[in-house]
Symmetry: C2
Subunit: 502 residues, 2 copies
């Protein structure tokens, strides 16, 4: 018996299977993963099912006795997979959703088997260093200053939340952390455009600042923040005794893909002493594509940047990321002290704790999949895939412009496109007598019919008060041909809607 | 060309590999996972390394060109794994840390390959229904009312945070969500024992309530909340014009494993109209072990329960969970409205959205691993493993009691044990002339030496002001024999500390 062993041979139970059993389970899973990736183009994008039907197949009391893995894999293959939307399908254009990448799912497998937990360096030395490397790569992709720092978290909502928490702490100091927002003498104000992501309002509510203290800044013609209106609102609020402390710029709005004028917003933030946060969850990584790069000038001046590697780095959910320009400014917002968080290491890099920079204590080894995708593909191939996504969206806009049965409702800034179908009576141009509400109604029905078709999937947006069919290209599998098929699919869906085609 | 296909054959690039390439990568990963599980007992628990050495091996600029998967797997095997702490080692007793389970890592692989994203039913019908099933199983394990509901999130810190957000919303209504904490007329107060997890204080700071508004309730002799002191503090605060709204009970403190008297706390909460939240992240699942079950009487009366399936359900990080007794009371705290969160389904189960019950929008398919571990092992085997963990901790306490060179510093309530080593001069009982600070110093050095040994790993706690060696048994691999080896390892570590053994 070796002195470092408990002397018990590996077991072969469900909780502690032998290497041979693990190999069998793993092989079965690999076969499914390989086959799934090979067949994803030919699956219906979204399932036609119901909650009741699925409940019938899945609901049961907690089983007392265990079951074979093969049986569970059958349920996964036969019920879960056909009952899922396939976000990796080349014509899934809904929301802002990545396909995932095979190598990242392998990385998640390895991360879960190693089961590293990353609250701090001492708990996971090499995984922590790898997270630093992955964050450095992201900083490089975004053009951040070398002294910036950051960490991964569950997603963009939490990254936006944590950024606002850090911004508040720098502004208010420890009095608010100790005694609450009521101890701050004046109402705090956050500024974000009317198209900012709703997680900003949710974060303001949760932080005890209040949704009503998020001032919605007007838009310019391209749905970007109007900086003159930003200045006007800051001045108004100051004059009224409120306390502006943070401006949130969007680098890729979820509605139309607009990138706010970052350089001007940075100058305004500097002038008024505001924390500048950039919600770049959707758009940030498009800086790797040459044609989009100029849009991100000014990004490196932000105090914080929220990103979703599980969007345009093509990673599976979940992987959000927050970059701080000055990590020390953020530290105090999250720091805590307790025995189980007492760090005995004295070398600064070894005393490093992630929990000082974000809301979580236990943290999954998300860095492994970020590192693996970037190292396996290389930044050039990722940039080319993003460039191709941008090209697909621009091509769709060209097809729409050249058609008489569609019209664009907003400019294509990144890879999001908003358009609508025009029934024959509406095709003669403005003032054609087409009823606006009728157009909304027709397009809403087309969307439902399209989603049921299984061939293409769009979501929706409201553009200048009108219902838009909205898509986002965020998949290395999507080609120009898919954009042509999409428009054909929308036409076919229109044929299902009474009054849409005649 | 099939009408549902883009007509392009599967690619074989790093982002979009062919099924054959995926099979090769997957097989290599499976081989590592199987070998890792087979060798985990014989690895040093914790690495002896430095940040500088790891940085040398890992840091480099963002690579422009990609690299073979085999090369990346080599870095994982040769640098990351040896530079990691092995939380699945049978003598890793630090903090509250699960080993992970092979079938759960396979589930994470499948979840990442399918890349389901679970903001709402419409985005992932079958995965959403499976999350409901897994939550129902957890409710059954805890004895919750059938009308309770819940969801998975990143971990216990977020579950505690979300519970306090829901508690505040029920108490304050939408005025705080809209206008911030300052709009509430009186200072809000939360009650938690002195041994409550620090994430409660962190949540209070982030929520804008303030750490200082968490009142620390005194302990009884078993380190449980003193309910008389709770009542006293509530009365005091009310008399002083403050506004008590929430009491947080611990079901398994991280320091000593104490379970607060839940039934009495529930009665007190009811009497004063407080939301009762139970932080059961560590202990909750011990209700599956017959010998611990009575400790959890009263749990089902809680308004919310925070749990960590990535603790005593032996899952890999991350998987936190929050159960609400009345989900509708929680809903309004998180609800938001935007186009991309507009739900068109009309059947209630199909209009269901997770984002109304927690902080996240995108959500990983965590339910798959919970469901797979419970369905594969069955509740009986999980309960037996937990029972065995409890037995190991009690056995350690017996060994300590029977020795003359160790003493227990707190009672063993669940699977946590706190003790210290006694140098010869301190072994003659109380008043032996042993200097308390000297004992702290010696045990602190023993801990460092033990952690460096690679054979066993403890963390630390402060018990009645004194430094304790602290361990937590949370691993189906741990046996009574490991507890004996642990004490031998501590003795060997003491021999390395000047003055400890003579």
């Amino acid at each position: 018996m070796s002195p470092t062993s408990s002397g018990r041979p590996p077991d072969d139970s469900a909780l502690d299977p032998s290497p041979g059993t693990i190999r069998e389970m793993g092989m079965e899973a690999v076969e499914w993963v390989a086959a799934y990736h090979g067949s994803i183009r030919d699956r219906p994008v979204a399932p036609r099912t119901s909650a009741a039907a699925l409940k019938d197949l899945l609901a049961e009391p907690l089983p007392v006795q265990g079951r074979d893995f093969s049986h569970l894999l059958d349920v996964f293959r036969d019920v879960i997979v056909p009952g899922s939307r396939h976000n990796g399908h080349p014509r899934f254009f809904g929301y802002v959703s990545a396909p995932g990448t095979a190598v990242a799912s392998v990385a998640d497998f390895l991360a879960s088997a190693l089961n590293a937990n990353l609250p701090a360096w001492r708990s996971a030395p090499a995984p922590t260093e790898l997270e630093h490397v992955a964050i450095d790569w992201i900083k490089e992709a975004l053009g951040c200053v070398p002294t910036a720092g950051g960490l991964f978290m569950s997603g963009g909502s939490m990254a936006n939340f944590a950024a606002l928490a850090a911004a508040r702490h720098r502004h208010c100091g420890d009095v608010v952390a100790s005694h609450g927002v009521s101890a701050h003498p004046r109402p705090l104000r956050i500024y974000a455009s009317q198209e900012a992501h709703h997680s900003i309002h949710k974060a303001a509510a949760l932080l005890g600042i209040g949704r009503g203290n998020v001032r919605e800044v007007a838009l310019d013609a391209r749905f970007r923040m109007d900086v003159n209106d930003l200045v006007r609102k800051i001045e108004e609020d100051r004059a009224a005794g409120a306390d502006p402390f943070c401006v949130v710029a969007s680098a890729g709005t979820v509605g139309t893909g607009a990138v706010d004028p970052l350089t001007e917003i940075a100058a305004t933030a500097k002038r008024y002493g505001l924390w500048m946060h950039v919600d770049a969850c959707y758009g940030g990584f498009a800086r790797l594509a040459p044609s989009a790069r100029p849009l991100f000038d000014g990004l490196s001046e932000a105090d914080s940047i929220a990103l979703d590697p599980h969007k345009w780095l093509y990673l599976p959910a979940d992987c959000g990321c927050l970059i701080y320009r000055d990590p020390e400014a953020a530290r105090a917002a999250f720091a805590l002290g307790a025995d189980y968080t007492r760090v005995m290491q004295t070398e600064p890099a070894e005393a490093f704790t992630f929990w000082d920079y974000g809301p979580d204590l236990s943290r999954r080894f998300r860095a492994l999949k970020v590192w693996m995708v970037l190292a396996h593909a290389g930044s050039q191939a990722v940039g080319e895939a993003i460039e191709s996504n941008l090209d697909c969206a621009r091509y769709l806009a060209e097809l729409v412009d050249a058609s008489d049965d569609f019209e664009l409702l907003s400019p294509v800034e990144l890879s999001i496109f908003c358009f609508r179908y025009l029934p024959p009576a509406a095709r003669t141009g403005p003032g054609s007598g087409a009823d606006a509400q009728e157009l909304d109604r027709v397009n809403q029905r087309i969307l439902v019919s399209l989603q049921e078709s299984g061939s293409s999937y769009l979501s929706n947006a409201t553009i200048n008060g009108r219902f838009a069919l909205r898509g986002c290209v965020l998949n290395y599998r999507t080609t120009r041909k898919d954009m042509e098929i999409l428009l054909d699919d929308v036409r076919r869906a229109a044929e299902q809607v009474p009054g849409a085609t005649d």
